[in-house]
Amino acid sequence: MDSHSDMGRTSGKDTQEQTEFRQYCRDWLAQNKPGEPPVRLPLTALEIMTEAQMAYLKSWQKAAYEAGLVGCDYPESVGGGGRTGCQRIANEEMRAARTPFFPNLVGLGMAAATIYYHGRNELKERLLPPLFSGEHIWCQGFSEPGAGSDLASVQTFADQRGDKWIINGHKVWTSLAHFADWMILLLRTDKSHKYEGLSYFVVPIRSNLGKGVTVRPLIKMTGETGFNEVIFEDLEVDDGCRLDELGKGWQVAMTTLTHERDAGELVTPAAGGMRNESAFNATAIALPGLARNAERDDGTAADDPLLRDRIVQQFIREQAIAQNMRRSRIPALQDHPMRLPLQNKLLMSEVAQDTANLAMDIEGAGASLYVGDSNAPAKGQWPKSYMNTFGFTIAAGTSEVQRNILGERVLGLAKSK
């Protein structure tokens, strides 16, 4: 069996355009792949902590965008490449080349498609090019202290004053807000209707810091920062920043969430760099080596039949996710169009959690040592990774909410709430 890293990489049935584009990507990446990062990079864009990390990653995104590897399938009028089915090709080639990830994760993964489908033309043309290039970093203002899984109960309120809106409220778990130029923001414009009272805005954050916007870092259980509270106090924004109609916020948010769950129509390059050599490799492929380095009384953890079984289970689960993606493009091999796409985030997050937990079991006593300990196996990254995976299983719809969605939308079972 081949190395795990080309899992899901396929080169069989490309169109003419795709074949040529693939070759172009390969050639470009061969010459322009960025060198070793000058700073230690985190696992994903969500954990970017320093300006130096951000600067390095922004310059990489800019170069890739200018080469045409970002926004490939969006029209040229909004700064895209005007291609068809090519972002997937670019993603595959970037993954194969083990490039770093892009810092504008929320922008590419969620904001772009939302703006594209729900924004006015003027807004698209203004906001999408700097989003693709990474010049503008985006964040997402959905969750609130009282509205976690129950997104529709957000209380952040926009009060209309002529063609302006005055926004007050409190958002939490806002990844990247401390670097963000813009935010996609779900809020309430009518307190008397739960769903119909929601509207959706894009809001400039950085330019309003200290002028109605406060960003406060939250600290994760790992001790790292990386997400924030964002507080709005009488922030004034133009009505032109609204997406879609007043009261359609819930529908717009569904577009965002569908893309966040990797189930959207426009493939984004966000995941392309998840697995790269500069970040810590948190997939099953890292486990055999870890196990061989974990000495046991007679041999290593790689000789332990129970650990071997669990390691192989993680390989199988990862392979299944990749093959689910492949199968989701073949109508004859599925019953319901959303059945596979809606599973993706749930499976990825739970597999990652179990892999990291298994890594700790492999390390044994060594798993007690954290990243600051020079004797820690794998530099103490696995326990940190394990804790961070709870971010994946909680954020963007907890695993419990994901199972509700699957049970209700795909299996047609009665709503649980």
Partner: protein
Amino acid sequence: MAQPDNFGFGEEAALLKESARKFFADNFPTDQLHVLVATDPDPYRPVAAPWREDLWRQMVELGWTALAVPESAGGVAMPLSAVAGLVEEAGHAAFPCPLLGTLNTIYVLSGCGPEGEAALSAIAQGHAATLAITNRQGSWDVSRCDVRLAQNSLDGTAWYVQDAGKVSHLLVSAYDGERLCLYWVDVTAPGVTVTPDAIIDLTRDQAHVTFQNVVVDGQRVTEVCTDAVPVLKAAMPAIWTLLAADMVGAGEWLLQTTTEYARTRQQFDRPLGFFQAIKHPLVNVMIEVDKSKSLVYNAACAFDSEPDKATGYAHMAKSAASDMASFGSSRAVQFHGGIGFTWECYVHLYFKRQKHSQLFFGDGPWHRRRLALSLIDREAHAG
């Protein structure tokens, strides 16, 4: 050689799968299956494995058993991914017939070179066959068997022979004292005794087959391979993949049937599926079915176009499908409640079929143990 994006599952394969689904739905819905196989519930009933041989003949005439046969032997040589689609539908119908046995035999014979051609032609012409290669222990190591060749005749017993009551020929493995060989045996040859087993699965039949001084006469008993271990090993990925495809079909039936019940059955003034104690495990069953299905078509595609990856991917498919079969069948009974525990509810047919399939040709841990050799130890040098 790279795998095609679509698993090699093209238009023809899609049509085949669709017509198979329609064939079973039209001709043999589950209520008819139950009437046919579940007449006598007595656990100590005499062994009987009723089937609709007329429908099987129709399947043969539709050419479904020749799909996998190489063109040189008069077959169609469809890719394994297409054949897997057919088997998935047969599993969905839990259709009692020697489809798996015959297909398994084809994949082994296809590795036997010119010696296997005659047998393959017989299958292409409509004969059903099955493998008789398992020892009394039920070992899935193909190099182990209890049948011996001495003085040009076969002696010993092959165990756990699937579909044995529905086939005209057996492909038998036997040690000639030195090497494992394969023999194409007419079940009516003198000295061959097929003794049906009293198995739990009502939709299959199984037997142990005793050979007493069965002469290799070149007619009813012919030698088709004199170095069977590599041949059997090469065919195993197809065999595992097809059994997994069968389980995927049956697993989907259990999922849909239980989901339907959860949509309609009311408890505490709500449909059952309202309760997350039902909803979430059902979603987990769906996830396991989907994982298995994706891994099945990946394994099939590898068998067709990346042979060096076929074994590993087939281990993955059978491992996932086995665990799914056990989990999904148990949840189907549990969530049907009292009614699911009765003979009259169709769920038990699939429950029993899934438990059978789970344990045959290696269960989940068995496949993972072998996979570990390549995934974990392979890199020991590089590590």
